[in-house]
């Protein structure tokens, strides 16, 4: 199958392309890229004549007025399979990804059973190959059962396809175990993704700590529960020279610590999620469990710091922390509802707002959502280079839409953005040789 995408605005930071051009896809791979940047400057693909292509076997897509990006990579999702298929499956989660412009997602290990051994990794890889609409790269658990006590078989899981390790949702409280994880993973050159939360400080908390938590009568989680662990993990990264990636940064203090650590040359990377730069703790007012997330939504100061951190490169990546839950689980006492936001289908539009606010260029946006995640994970994705997998999205920055949680492809309808009108939508996602018109 050949697909020709014509006359779109190609943004591919991996090759320094930011101009109008065409892309030819053949058998699921990028065959040719022609843009005003490439040499020689682009002659048009001529009808039926170029490279032996004939009209009959060529699907032509006119991308005039639209952007063409490498498919986005979400390095932090929860696909819930195996074990919690009522919340999400690999099939529905990857469909949500494709709808959101993602062609690769990395799924966290807090399934049932936990992805802490090669057979669970193998199951996820096999299921994703059979049913996944996009590429799925599993993240293995750092410790057995995510209990924070003994290292899981990291090397064996890498052989089955794990690309990173994290006890996401269950921070590794024991500093010695975290040290060993950072040391041991160096052997395989894979990142350790840290969910930074001091459980003794956050215990019982369900939202950000402050005046609002007092007036709502909800137990607060202080920002320091995160920053203390960010500092610990930076120190351990410095000690071990391990590859530390800090998950879902939510506080100003964390941004400052990461910036400082990077200045000092420590080998760390960091991500944040759209909800941490789009909405504040005010979203939980009226006890809205769809805004209950961990780490919790913070304040305007934190949002400003996170935006600044994205803008100056302190924060490398935007991930979703897509955490789908069943509606019945969220429709209950605030204290007892699970943490999490279903994020895949709103992430790109929410992130585009950063471009509109002049905090990021379109190129930087693609870096945060495709190029940098690929770099951090050490995978050959996030690029439109010839011979790369044809993971491509066509993006209409002007298309407005209303977020309707009920219509999400994800089984998780838990979003605080329900009813929002957002701008910027992927109109086509090409992945694993298939074209999804959205």
């Amino acid at each position: 199958m050949r697909i020709l995408i014509k006359n779109g605005h190609i943004i591919d930071p991996s090759q320094g392309i930011d101009s109008i051009g065409d892309i030819l896809i053949e058998d699921g791979k990028i065959k040719e890229v022609r843009s005003q940047k490439t040499n020689p400057p682009m002659p048009p693909f001529t009808k039926g004549g170029h490279g032996g292509i004939t009209n009959s076997e060529l699907q032509t897509i006119d991308a005039t007025g639209l952007y063409i990006f490498p498919g986005l990579i979400d390095m932090h999702v929860h696909l819930r399979e195996p074990g919690f298929e009522y919340k999400e499956t690999i099939k529905t989660g990857t469909m949500a990804a494709v709808k959101g412009g993602f062609t690769t997602v990395c799924c966290m290990p807090n399934t049932y059973p936990v992805n802490d051994n090669a057979s669970v990794t193998e199951f996820i890889i096999r299921k994703a190959a059979q049913e996944g609409h996009c590429f799925v790269l599993p993240i293995g658990a750092i410790t057995k059962g995510q209990k924070g006590e003994e290292l899981a078989e990291i090397g064996t899981m890498i052989n089955e396809g794990c690309v990173a390790f994290s006890d996401d949702g269950q921070p590794v409280m024991n500093s010695l175990i975290m040290r060993r994880a950072l040391e041991y993973s160096k052997t395989f050159d894979v990142p350790i993704i840290s969910h930074c939360e001091d459980l003794t400080l956050s215990e019982g908390g369900v939202m950000n700590e402050g005046l609002l938590s007092i007036t709502l009568g909800l137990m607060g989680i202080p920002a320091e529960a995160e920053t203390i662990m960010v500092y610990r993990d930076i120190s351990l990264a410095e000690l071990t020279s391990g590859r530390l990636h800090i998950a879902h940064v939510s506080t100003e203090g964390s941004v400052n610590l990461i910036r400082d650590a990077k200045k000092r040359g420590i080998n760390i990377t960091a991500e944040t999620c759209p909800h941490y730069f789009s909405i504040t703790e005010e979203a939980v007012k009226d006890y809205n469990t769809n805004a209950k997330v961990n780490p919790p939504l913070r304040t305007v100061h934190d949002i400003e710091a996170i935006k600044q951190g994205l803008s100056d490169g302190t924060i490398d990546a935007i991930s979703t922390d897509h955490a789908p839950h069943h509606v019945d689980e969220k429709l209950r006492e605030f204290d007892m509802a699970p943490f999490g936001i279903s994020g895949l289908e709103t992430a790109l539009s929410l992130s585009l707002r950063l471009v509109e606010e002049d905090l990021l260029t379109m190129k930087q946006l693609v870096e945060k959502m495709a190029v940098n995640p690929a770099k951090i994970l050490g995978i050959k994705k996030g690029t439109l280079k010839v011979d790369a997998d044809a993971d491509v999205i066509i993006f209409d920055v002007n298309k407005e839409f209303k977020v309707e949680a009920e219509k999400f492809a994800s089984r998780g309808k838990n979003t605080p953005f329900d009813g929002w009108v957002l701008k910027g939508m992927p109109v086509m996602t090409i992945c694993k040789g298939k074209v999804y018109e959205l």
């Binding site: 007036t215 006492e333 204290d335």
Partner: protein, 306 residues
């Protein structure tokens, strides 16, 4: 009549609404003083006490208030309900509504539960205490008692002493009393009075002697024993030494000061027996007034239905 279906908190009430409730309660208090303490006002209505937390005084007070209004009352408490069989909160509430409840009076250990139910139910939801959020009828009966004793609330200096951070009574009282233009002081150890609370328009004192000077009203809160051992204070003895109300400390307040307590009291810990049983104590009057205030709330909420 109150132009709302539910009473979820004082936070949502206007000054006019608070005054309306207090004025209406005054009329009902007259009823309670009569030989026949019952009016037919809400005959045929049904109230359900849906209590997910143990309570004797609040539940009994609501029960009596309903009965005085000729409303049928059912008590639905957790240990005997299907909640223990795994039923969800909303299913339990919908079941109670389907049984014909006009009022669902709810107490729950999680903040926001009355708000969630109010959205799901046609019945009037009355918050009888949710988590550490609010206990609106307690604040209303406290305001009623103060108004009765002091003839006004505006301009009074009122000290609330104790575990403010975890107290729904304190929270509702802060909203109510500041809205009625009293000056509110909070007194207690800094672990129990977070700094951010100053944003509620109150003054904070950590020293009991400083805080009690020239106050008109003292509200003592029950110190919850389970806070000990969680690092909020080292021991009840130390708490009592620093923030327990003694006659000596009480003498720092105005001569005509009154002492309140929402109950149940820990005698000898947050309040000495001489004070609890002494002439400045209005603690038992608070209990009596609670019935009148709860009658007023039910009566005023019933008005908007249909």
């Amino acid at each position: 009549m109150l132009n709302r279906k539910d009473l979820l908190g004082i936070k949502e009430l206007s000054v006019a609404e608070i005054n309306l409730i207090l004025d209406t309660a005054a009329a009902f208090k007259d009823v309670l003083g009569r030989d026949i303490k019952k009016v037919p006002t809400l005959r045929g209505k049904t109230a359900v006490n849906l209590f997910f937390e143990p309570s004797t005084r609040t539940r009994t007070s609501f029960e009596l208030a309903a009965k005085r209004l000729s409303t049928d009352v059912i008590n639905f408490s957790v240990p005997t309900s299907s909640v223990v069989k795994g039923e969800t909160l909303i299913d339990t509430a919908l079941t109670v509504q389907a049984l014909g409840a006009d009022f669902i009076i709810i107490r729950h250990s999680s903040s926001g539960v009355p708000h969630l139910l109010a959205k799901k139910l046609r019945a009037s939801v009355i918050n009888a205490g949710d988590g550490t959020n609010e206990h609106p009828t307690q604040a209303l009966l406290d305001a009623f008692t103060i108004r009765e004793k002091k003839e006004k609330i505006e301009g009074l200096t009122i000290a609330i002493v104790g575990d403010i951070a975890h107290s729904r009574v304190a929270k509702s009282n802060i909203y109510c009393l500041t809205r009625l233009d009293a000056r509110v002081r909070l007194i207690g150890p800094s672990t129990l009075i977070p700094d951010e609370i100053k944003g509620m328009g109150i003054d904070v004192f950590h020293n009991m002697e400083d805080g009690l000077k020239n106050v008109d009203v003292l509200m003592m809160l029950r110190i919850q024993m389970e806070r000990q051992g969680k690092g909020f204070f080292p021991s009840t003895e130390e708490y009592s030494k620093n923030w327990g109300l003694t006659l000596e400390r009480l003498s720092l307040a105005k001569d005509d000061a009154i002492v309140m307590h929402p109950g149940p009291m820990n005698r000898g810990i947050e309040i000495s027996s001489e004070i609890a049983d002494g002439p400045k104590s209005v603690i038992l009057e608070q209990v009596t007034n609670g019935i009148a205030v709860r009658m007023a709330v039910m009566y005023l909420l019933a008005g908007v239905k249909k």
